[in-house]
Symmetry: C2
Subunit: 467 residues, 2 copies
């Protein structure tokens, strides 16, 4: 591949071959000496994030390979135009325009360049780091540049990677919707009549989306402790929960008033992150009729810092949960493998440091794909913008408590205790607990594609006098 | 007032007297020759907006007096520092910092300067234009500067005035909530148990907020036409509606995790606009269970372009609808006149040009004030940001159909026709209809404070094949 690229005319207007597949596998080997091939940030990944580090505290774009973070601003600033054109051939834009996006404090500008550019950049990075790199002089044999642009991951601070205009959370996790429905309405009426006809969703809060590692303060709220009295109290939530979700970032805007077709929807996705949509179940259950969740959700949502490019997940496509309903035309996909086979895990680590993996699920347990969510979201002409975040909704598996994506389900609304290593029990989260989501697909041989960690530790509520 | 200001030491750190009331009335007279004293943009108003005009197409901050738009970028750029300090004494910030905000393409930077600055600027503008201006040399006697910075309102283009991070729509219009509740659940269960305990709200869509004058395309959506069949169709909405609301812009952020007290909440409000939260009732009724409105709302919301400063509404405070429930401490206000007496009207103008005022209501018909909404919204630590928009929810009066703020209520869900001038009938909106909201308070003598128009014309849906 690399050789043929080099043989092409080095014009920035060359388009890559239509037969070139973005998920073409490179061998999972690199010249980078610290690399361990079982890393989730393998040669098959190259996610993007926003970092700052002590050398240059201004935010910039970076990628990660193994445990090494590569500062793309420093890297590309050090290279001349002809070198950049060899590394990233056929962009269709100037390399100056590409490189300018690496100096931004969010990935929005880079995202807007479109998936054609993202493909070429990801392949260029793979070519740069592969064991048989066709460009040894750029970085492999340039130890000065390596020292300038490569940082161990412990040396950098990760930031929220995109400026999030709007955040929409869907409810596409079929088993979650079913389990919760059974709890509230029994098995015969578990799912609402609309559930299999459209991807139900609601608008979340963009301002409270934080990056992994940010502490989460236990929210205060109105709670109906005594269901009979109908008189709420104002207290810290007693039912603080997590939700295991996959999040998708939008890459480019659609014009207001113009729906995105299901065929085009894939091109509107930039990449994916893990998403923990923290929830206060007692606040939510009192407030949510008739307009939906509000204070029970909008105090915080945590995302993993590295955006896994949509192309990196292409080899892991699989079929979603079967929907037997005859769905409307605008939601019908020709791509039947419309979801991803990503193994998801959730840990609780107690204040004492005991960690328990309490849930294992998979991102394939969705009834609606992200392209379907996009087609539905824009059916009415609603404008999406670069950096908008779509959440899948909580993803639970079909099995028992240990396959579920929230404590609400695992504890059956607080009725059943969950045992943790070290002997602790939980129904909902305690102050001092840390919740960590992880998501990985692929093998060591081909190179794992993982998301890193999405974690948050619960802090005690603010001091409060109820009356 | 002006004289005493001039006598003060001209330091930027001077604070205005605590006894100075922001809503101190100036006489409703100006030296501006075109001014008509019955204008809603009177000497008592001075709202702010973002404009562009052919002389200088870049967006900038402006105000309006009568029909004349004053470009604050051009005005303040033409003045030297000592003149600016005389005009705006006691800012507590440098005049350079103030003036920089007038060159921004949104009001966010200006809003973040805080209400102390907003007060001084509004008073400075009143002093500059009053008939007995203490600063005749700055503008009254400077016809060159007048020509440079004053434009007739027909010469400027108005833009969305703020970068809106998050948009929250409440449901505080008591009579609307009650009317709609009666339609769906009968009079005994019209209001949900939580309604009188907390200001119910939900997250809206920020990306589809447009400025008055923007055409609104009829949205396509899933509709359950045949309630028995339980099989939806995908069609242009048949029940397109408006909602008459008041919107409040947030002026400064609170820190994530830190609630805003009800005492402090007023200081978080920058100003107010009219808000038409367009709604597709048939899409909404099929989709909204269990997570609330989505595609039935997020295709468009229209706001009036001029932000009426919170201080300009101070003389029009009145009491909200009485809430007999004992509310939680964090929602109890010492300011009993917590809402505004703004007369609201809604017109429909048909494609043929016939205009009918179909509804008259008042912004005082709220059960929850904006400070209560802010205290509730942030109770759980949810961070607000400068430029966030809060909607009141639809505001209906206690009387008949002609006092209601939506066609849903006026037509009783489509059962009753509304007669228009020219003989047309409506249950919901037709293509070609223009909906115009207006809101005004005050008298010609004291100076009216109005919002201008908030209007949108309905365009036909995109071409669509259902199957």
């Amino acid at each position: 591949m690399a050789t043929s690229c080099q043989n092409k005319k080095q014009s920035s207007s060359i388009m890559v071959s239509e037969h070139w597949t973005p998920w073409h596998q490179v061998r999972n080997e690199t010249w980078m000496p610290t690399y361990k091939p079982d890393s989730e940030f393998s040669m098959a990944n190259f996610p993007l994030g926003i970092v700052s580090h002590s050398d240059e505290p201004r935010e910039r774009v970076a990628t990660i390979l193994g445990e090494e973070v590569i500062d793309l601003r420093i890297l590309t600033t050090a290279l001349d135009v002809s070198t950049l054109k060899r590394l990233f051939p056929g962009l269709g834009i100037t390399v100056a325009r590409l490189c300018a996006t690496f100096s931004e404090s969010t990935l929005n500008e880079y995202a807007e360049l479109g998936r054609h550019v993202h493909r070429i950049v990801r392949k260029g990075l793979q070519d740069l780091f592969r064991i048989d790199t066709p460009f040894p002089e750029i970085l492999r044999d340039n130890s000065n540049l390596q020292k300038e642009c490569i940082f161990h991951q412990t040396q950098v601070r990760m930031l929220v990677p995109m400026q999030i205009g709007d955040y929409t959370d869907f409810y596409a996790g079929y088993h979650h919707a079913y389990h919760v429905g059974v709890m509230f309405r029994g098995p015969d009426n578990a799912l609402q009549p609309n559930y299999t006809h459209l991807p139900v969703g609601y608008h979340g809060r963009a301002s409270s989306i934080v990056v992994s590692g940010t502490p989460i303060k236990r929210p205060i709220g109105q709670i109906l402790v005594d269901q009979e009295k109908k008189q709420p109290v104002t207290e810290p939530t007693r039912k603080l929960d997590f939700e295991v979700e996959l999040g998708a970032f939008i890459t480019k805007p659609n014009k207001m008033g113009e729906p995105v077709s299901i065929e085009d929807a894939q091109d509107y996705i930039f990449g994916y992150v893990l998403l923990n949509d923290w929830s206060a179940r007692d606040i939510q259950s009192w407030e949510y009729v008739p307009l939906g969740p509000f204070n029970g959700k909008n105090f915080a949502s945590t995302i993993s810092p590295w955006v896994v490019m949509a192309d990196a997940l292409e080899p892991f496509r699989t079929t979603p949960i079967e929907n037997k309903t005859e769905i409307q035309k605008y939601l019908r996909e020709t791509q039947k493998k419309s979801v991803y086979d990503i193994e998801l895990e959730v840990d609780i680590t107690t204040a004492e440091g005991e960690t328990t993996t309490i849930g294992r699920t998979n991102s394939k347990f969705l009834m609606w794909s992200f392209p379907q969510m996009i087609a539905h979201h824009t059916l009415n002409g609603c404008p999406l913008r670069s950096g908008d975040l779509l959440g899948s909704g909580t993803i639970s598996g079909p099995g028992g408590a240990d396959e579920r994506g929230s404590l609400l389900e695992m504890s059956e609304g607080g009725k059943r205790n969950i045992s943790l290593n070290g002997g602790d029990l939980r129904t909902f989260l305690k102050d001092g607990d840390t919740v960590t989501l992880r998501g990985v697909c692929g093998t060591t041989e081909a190179g794992k594609v993982g998301f890193g960690q999405c974690e948050g530790r619960i802090r005690g509520a603010v001091k409060w006098s109820s009356n």
